[in-house]
């Protein structure tokens, strides 16, 4: 019944050589992907015209990277994504904690949440455009709508995970509601929130791109749309690579943050120890 006394260390000393650092492994993995994407078209498994080899994509990427247009598009995308994600995160966490810690509220909102969650953002596009036209707010609406649910559900499950003894301790010492949230519920839910952040971040990115692509608000998505309708395959994939790399970067950030804020959690402490 006690908290961990020892970090179980299956990996601490037995393997005397240090395990390869995560970034190196990651690079090896990505190199593998590059190799596959290079070889599959070259080996003729798919037609080069429709899935060009990686080198061609990278060449197209290098070409685009020389244009100012690309960089403004990238910035637009990142800006819309960041704002949307931030709104969704804050709203998801706040509402998740409020709803999650009040069983009555939870029961009352359950069906509404389940009704709204599966409504695809694409179906909302006309409405978004109706409200905000083709500027970034339309896309923002879609981004927030889609990623909000991801965060919310994670937080709801995270709040449920609070250890009953810890919860009783908090009640015993008559913690104020806000303290309970900050010192008991929040840390417990944090691993779930981190996953929510990672899920929400990619969904937000996806919707940002999709929104730009369909609505035409400025950003990489619009560039992709242009490339698609121009039949420019390699430049299109070049842009997709950029989108994918944003995803990878977000994950690096999330993992770094996790090692800091979840030091105390078994998932981190057993690995760092």
């Amino acid at each position: 019944m006690t908290a961990a006394v020892t970090a179980s260390g299956p990996r601490t000393g037995r393997r005397r050589h240090r395990p390869a650092p995560a970034w190196l492994l990651g690079l090896i993995g990505l190199a593998g992907l590059v190799a596959v994407v290079e070889l599959v078209p070259r080996a003729g498994l798919v037609d080069e015209r429709y899935l060009p080899p990686c080198s061609a994509m990278l060449a197209a990427l290098a070409e685009q990277a020389g244009t100012a247009e690309f960089w403004t598009a990238l910035l637009e995308t990142l800006r819309g994504w960041a704002i949307g994600l931030a709104i969704a995160l804050v709203a998801g966490v706040v509402l998740g904690i409020v709803i999650g810690s009040a069983p009555l509220l939870r029961a009352a909102t359950a069906s509404t949440i389940e009704f709204l969650r599966p409504i695809p953002s694409v179906a909302l596009i006309p409405l978004a455009v109706l409200l905000f036209g083709t500027d970034m707010r339309s896309t923002l609406l879609l981004v927030v709508y889609a990623s909000f649910w991801q965060v919310l559900v994670q937080v709801l499950y995270g709040v449920r995970d609070v250890d009953p003894v810890a919860d009783q301790t908090a009640r015993m010492y008559r913690f104020r509601p806000l303290t309970r949230v900050r010192k008991v519920i929040w840390p417990t839910a944090l691993p779930y929130v981190m996953t929510g952040f990672r899920l929400g971040a990619s969904v937000a990115l996806i919707l940002e791109i999709t929104g730009e692509l369909i609505i035409g608000s400025p950003g990489l998505g619009r560039q992709i749309a242009v490339a698609q309708s121009s039949g420019a395959v390699a430049p299109m994939y070049a842009l997709v690579i950029v989108v994918g790399l944003i995803g990878v970067a977000v994950n690096v950030v999330a993992r770094t943050a996790e090692r800091r804020v979840l030091r105390w959690h078994p998932s981190v402490r057993t690995e760092v120890a």
Binding site: D47, R49, Y50, I125, P126, L127, V129, L130, L131, F132, G133, T134, L213, I214, I215, G216, R222, Q223, A225, V226, A227, Q228, S229, S230, G231, A232, V233, P235, M236
Partner: protein, 303 residues
Amino acid sequence: GGGDSSTGSGGAQGAGGTAKVKVNVIPIIDVAPIYLGKEQGFFAEQGLEVELVTAQGGAAIVPAVVSGQVEFGFSNLTSLIIARSQQVPVKVVVAGAGSTGEQGKDFGGIVVKAGSPIKSAKDLEGKRVAVNTLNNINDTTVRASVRAAGGDPKKINFVELPFPDMLPALDKGTIDAAQVVEPFLATAVKNGDRVIASNYVDTAPKLTVAAYFTSEQLAQSNPDLVQRFAAAMKKSQQYAEENPDAVRKILPTYTKIDASLTESLTLPSFPTEIDPNSVETLTRLAVDDGLITTAPDGKELLP
């Protein structure tokens, strides 16, 4: 000073300065004239400062225009006919793009693989044919082609695929034929695919395919603006029609069409007037093919 193409500062036009208008377009060859017109200063002449916003299709463009978020939009005529028949208050302003009217030398057509047994539109019976949007201009015109070739259009299996994905699917054999437009048509030809019919040509001579439109509300509240836009647009269309090289040159500025392709592209025609005949044909086709139940009043739709 009508020659001043930069943003006309105070008093270039009598009507109280420059009006800003947003136009929602699709980044395809069809809208080259508006880019040209902007470049040539035709809009500035009319005291208009146009901002071109690209979008992927009607799902975003029609609501944007109807709600007044943008002043004008670009769309194919069938979509507008359908919208009108559902009481969506859209109003055509000026023609956008049209068929060249030359069989086999149009900007859109039905392609099959080189070795395909399909020789004519009639052979499409029972085959899978890709169009970019079901129940819209492309499948109705393909049906028209089939009818013209003496086939039964009901026997076609239409498959909806985005244009960029048609040629890979054709290659793979998941579809038998595809209705494509430029630049995919030129790509297909380059790949060795065969054009078996020009569906727009088969539908009507010099079919007007697409147009610029606005909302009824704007047309009523600011007819002058609409008028000026139409005037500038017509001049642009004319200019584009007369200067195909200028069209080819402007393409890379707003599309990513491969430079090696631009020369071999077949450009659409850029009519200045809407062919009422085309509208009537497309409306009839829409009704016949069950896209709409009641034909909209042509007067409401057309300027």
